[in-house]
């Protein structure tokens, strides 16, 4: 996927963009609908997310995270702006500039793929009740108290399930940094 982004960034390659669009736009639309958008709005926001990718592909830096991560952050911020009508304070990954360890670049690329695989495995092995709160937060866009209401749980239980989930994911990638 990073290669496709590269094609878009350097060559303004419409075919590469089409592949990216086919891969991600349907999922972003799904995401927007889960966040409460009607199908038309979700479609518009999915298109806008991918068009932002088209416009800003040159800013994308592959070492700072996967292409999917970049697209997720664009979609998330667009959702905050358009659906919640609030200011997105969350950063996009290309804003990260710290500790460029340029001498170990190949290792970093390997570790990026490894990191992703580990997060994926850790997520898949979460107990159902922890997976549920993570998914309600990220995909359904619910705050702590909204999750507590939805699941009819005390707020403290929601937070502790989130902490437990996060700790397992952190443990899974800890030795990579």
């Amino acid at each position: 996927m990073a290669d496709l982004l590269q094609q878009v960034a350097v060559h303004r390659d419409v075919d590469a963009f089409r592949q990216l669009f086919q891969q991600y736009a349907p999922r972003v639309k799904s995401y927007m609908m889960r966040q409460g958008a009607d199908p038309n709005t979700a479609e518009e926001l999915a298109q806008e997310t991918l068009l932002t990718v088209w416009r800003k592909a040159a800013l994308y830096s592959g070492e700072k995270g996967s292409a999917t991560t970049w697209i997720f952050t664009i979609a998330r911020n667009l959702r905050i702006d358009r659906l919640r009508k609030e200011v997105p304070w969350q950063e996009l990954p290309e804003g990260h500039n710290e500790t460029p360890s340029s001498d170990t670049l190949p290792d970093e690329v390997v570790s990026e793929a490894e990191r992703r695989a580990r997060v994926q495995t850790a997520l898949a092995s979460l107990p159902q009740d922890q997976h549920e709160v993570v998914s309600l937060s990220y995909i359904d866009g619910l705050s702590h108290s909204e999750i507590a209401e939805r699941l009819n749980l005390p707020l403290g239980t929601v937070k502790s399930r989130m902490r437990l989930a996060y700790q397992k994911i952190r443990d899974a990638v800890e030795d990579l940094k």
Binding site: R27, K56, T68, T69, I71, P93, L123, H144
Partner: protein, 215 residues
């Protein structure tokens, strides 16, 4: 000095998910700009979001033909912010609201030894965001917290029963926390504070104005 107090894991996860209320997100964004550890944590949390997104079943979409832009247009909603480089100044995400210089802020006096500057949120947001400046050695009234509150130290420090909070430290306070912060005896304390329930702040501020009433 190293940052030792960070956002609660559940707070940081909600921030990455984009579900933390705007006022609280502003404080986390400012802390993250000052804290390398939290930026690293967020990289993992963003990746988690990406995996959840990629796992969703697709909905049929139609691709618009992209235009070849002559120049990169201004970002639409996706705001790009660089982490602030220098310590001791206002972190980058906040400069849009308050400028770059802590010394140039037009403080409003709130009560004995306490000044503040309320900061604007979007019309849709329900919380409260403000800067607060406390004189050296000033003791704040003992108070609890209704709902989530965050305080980020921008200058000076304070001490309470939880510990010592210095530059860049973030206090993640909720219902369970009762505290009576004391500002640094020499430097005082400047904090960015956010509450998801602004009414709670009003109660505290009313007591600052009239410290001997209603305790």
């Amino acid at each position: 000095m190293a940052i030792t107090h960070h956002a609660d894991d559940s707070t940081l996860m909600s921030y990455a998910a984009g579900t933390l209320p705007e006022a609280l997100s502003a404080v986390v964004a400012a802390h993250v700009a000052m804290c390398t550890d939290c930026r690293r944590e967020l990289a993992t949390l963003d990746e988690l979001g990406a995996i959840l997104l990629a796992d969703l079943p697709g909905q049929a979409t139609v691709m618009p033909l992209p235009r070849q832009p002559a120049v990169e247009p201004a970002p639409c909603s996706a705001i790009v912010r660089k982490p602030s480089a220098a310590a001791g100044t206002i972190p980058a995400p906040l400069t849009r609201l308050v400028g770059k210089d802590l010394d140039a802020i037009a403080w409003k006096r709130l009560g004995l030894g306490v000044w503040h500057l309320p900061l604007p949120l979007s019309a849709n947001a329900t919380g409260d965001l403000r800067l607060i400046k406390v004189a050296p050695g000033q003791i704040m009234p003992d108070h609890g917290h209704g709902g989530a509150e965050l305080a980020l130290i921008l200058a000076g420090s304070y001490t309470d029963s939880i510990g010592h909070f210095g530059h860049g430290d973030l206090a993640d306070l909720d219902d369970a926390v009762e505290h009576q912060p004391i500002a640094d005896r020499e430097a005082g304390c400047i904090c960015l504070i956010a509450s998801e329930h602004p009414a709670r702040f009003k109660g505290l501020f009313a007591r600052l104005v009239q410290p001997f009433v209603g305790l």
